[in-house]
């Protein structure tokens, strides 16, 4: 697909929630020094996804998304088979976000927790630095652009079925965003004996015109 329609619930500092629809045309993934575009088709906001059998890596991340009222800051999770490059991961964006402007002054104090570990964002490239790197020195993301920062140090290796979870915590405003994913194995089938598809019709009498 050529765009991803991100539908976040944006929580303000007083707990009020706005609900803008945001089109993301291009997503850049940052892992360390790299900032590389990835196909938009990898993004979804699903909360339950089938994954490869065997070991799967779930890497927590935060996403900066351009929007008129101020860049959004939201949790995400990357999921890929162990051994595959992070750039090929599925990207699951939570439908919840903060405005970056509400935490810009204390961004370094924001923490990310996952798989029993946590890290402060101060140990990562700052949002301003990333935006400047992408835009050639600018201080704002152009429309349609999002940057995802993966925190590989907090990644978990799991085997489906599994639940993976991450939190972003803002200690200054005393709030957190939790992103939870249920992973099911692509090899499993909830049906023991999967039935065939059926076609039904309403009136059980008389002649019906069928439109198929």
């Amino acid at each position: 697909m050529s765009l991803f329609l991100f539908k976040p619930h944006v929580v303000g500092p007083k707990g009020d929630i706005t609900t803008p629809d945001v089109i993301i045309d291009k997503l850049y993934v940052s892992d360390g020094d790299d900032l590389a575009p990835v196909p938009i088709g990898r993004i979804s906001s699903e909360v339950k996804i089938p994954v490869e059998s065997g070991l799967v890596v779930a890497t927590p991340a935060f996403v900066l998304t351009a929007i008129g009222g101020g860049t959004l800051f939201s949790p995400a999770m990357l999921v890929n088979a162990k051994g595959d490059p992070l750039r090929t991961a599925e990207i699951l964006m939570a439908r919840k976000a903060w405005r970056h402007a509400n935490l810009a002054e204390h961004e370094a104090d924001v923490t990310m927790a996952a798989s029993g570990k946590d890290a402060t964002l101060g140990s990562l490239p700052g949002s301003g630095e990333l935006i400047a790197k992408l835009t050639g020195g600018g201080d704002a993301l152009p429309r349609g652009i999002a940057i995802l920062v993966a925190v590989s140090g907090l990644a978990a290796e799991v085997t489906a079925p599994a639940r993976v979870e991450m939190q972003l915590r803002d200690p200054r405003l005393d709030r957190e965003l939790t992103h939870r994913l249920d992973l099911v194995s692509v090899a499993d089938d909830r049906w023991e004996d999967r039935p065939g598809p059926r076609y039904t019709f309403g009136p059980q009498h008389g002649d019906l015109q069928h439109y198929i």
Partner: protein, 323 residues
Amino acid sequence: MDYTAYAATMQGVWFSHDQGENWARLLTPTGGMYNEARVWAVETHADRPGEVLAGTDQGLYRYTSEAGRFDYIPSPMDSLHILQIARDPRDAKFIVCGTRPGEIFLSEDDGESWTRSNLNAATECWFINTSRVTSIKFDPAERDTIWITIEIDGVFKSTDRGRSWELAVEGIVDRDTHDLVFYDSPEGRTVLVSTEEGVHRSMDNGATWVHEPTDVAPFVYFRSLKLVPDGGTTVLASVGDKPSGETGMLLLSHDLGKNWKPLDVPGPVNSTIWTIGTNPADPKIIFAATIFGQIFRSTDGGETWAKMKRELGEIRMIAWAPN
């Protein structure tokens, strides 16, 4: 009684705090639910005063009077239309949602996690192309039994709390099914189902059905069916000339559908009366609404009706609950 009425509409959820006279939505920018959300279901629970669940085309939401806004409940249903919601009357954490396409999703932990049920509903159907869950009912007597109706497929019954389902349509003349009513007495159980072609009765717990013509109604498109929750045998039925429709009516029976009388609903009624909302907290207070926005209220258990002045857009469900 101090209560709030809720209307699920194609322009969000509307609230009335004055017995249905006036209606308003939450403040658009901060209400917590997507402004353009189409809402099909609003569901309240006796153990959760001030709380309502809303089924939309943007996901499942929970409103609490404490928060004063809707909060999004992440689920696998975000890309589906959430048409029906029911919670176990004995356990508000057990949530059952029905969607279009016709699927059932279960949560046993108040929405924290979800299971997709093994419901083998039709994956394609006549006329409307895609099936829809039109009602979900917890069996009033059997704890693990849940019933649903699907247009167009029929009545399904689960005896394992929604994990698997069996079709129960023997004798149904039209599988465009809409709503169910149950009545248990020492003499046995009566189940009624409303369909595109009128009401059917089962006296063997859904194993077989008998179609019962209702000559007092000029139309056969029966939509909502409700047992007035006073312990008695009074049933209300909403009827229209066709889906959406150009007119509608209400019927009342005091003997579980054996005999019906048309009710005097202030007219003209502009379309099929699509939804009836009752609450056991006060069996006398009942709301009904046409699909094209008219709202009617009864304060005597359905015998007489007043039309509310305010009309909304397309209304899919109306409900009320004590505050």
